[in-house]
Symmetry: C2
Subunit: 128 residues, 2 copies
DNA sequence: GAACAATACATGCACTCGCATCTAATGCAA
DNA sequence: TTGCATTAGATGCGAGTGCATGTATTGTTC
């Protein structure tokens, strides 16, 4: 494995991540009152079209379980999602997006896309 | 610009960043008592072979000025760098790496490389 | 069924971060 | 020189994060 290449890739990831996170924090925050984590969680829920267990969300967003728990708490306080106990396993918690949450997400999505398009405009064609 | 591609790239960056950061925090922390930011700053200084102004470092690491100021403070407390006033501009501060800092960096470098190689082993060939 | 490990989520805590602000030094204009 | 805007870096503060732990529920083993 070419070490030089690995380090370059890492620097690329670091730079894009920092730039995008910073811009998302600013744009999503100022225009829609959402942090990147809040948006990410809403986005994941919207794309599933169903109730999700907190644990399922944990696999998809890059947050610790505790951080996710607090993001959901903030979203609930803002009335963008609601939490409900899971009947099959009463330890579990379902997270449902509310109409207001769906609306907020729909409103924020173009902002996120705009920011990302801007930042990854010159992105090299990753062969994923 | 293909929106799908942009979003995929973003997800790729998010995933690699989270994985690498997490692993670096663990490995560098446990084995060498360094956080990712501390290592990054040492690494930048080593690669310049000279005194650096804090401001110059600020351009190279992805940290706010205040965060960098504190990282340097921590490194100084650990005796890995030393701060000295800049004679041409007495507002400025030079950061010098100490012998101990250089040694610690040399010791941590293989760990960092190993972590990155592991994580970017399957990295697509970015055409940077 | 009782005791105990395991799991799902919440929470206390320490830490790092960015923003706003502060202090000190510099530059520039009147 | 004096006065004021600017710049370098430090610091108070609030917010978000991960780790360790707490609480409640479930599964398992005897």
């Amino acid at each position: 494995m070419d070490e030089q290449f690995v380090v370059e890739t890492w620097h690329y990831v670091l730079a894009k991540h920092a730039k995008a996170m910073c811009a998302l924090e600013r744009e999503l925050g100022d225009r829609h009152g959402l942090g990147p984590s809040e948006f990410e969680v809403l986005d994941r829920i919207v794309h599933h079209h169903r109730k999700l267990r907190i644990q399922e969300l944990c696999d998809e967003v890059h947050l610790s379980q505790s951080a996710l728990s607090r993001v959901v708490a903030r979203l609930e306080k803002a009335a963008l999602v609601s939490r409900g106990v899971c009947d099959e396993d009463r330890r579990g918690v379902f997270v449902c997006i509310t109409d207001e949450g769906r609306a907020r997400h729909a409103e924020a999505l173009p902002t996120q896309r705009a920011v990302l398009s801007e930042i990854f405009a010159d992105a090299p064609a990753l062969t994923l």
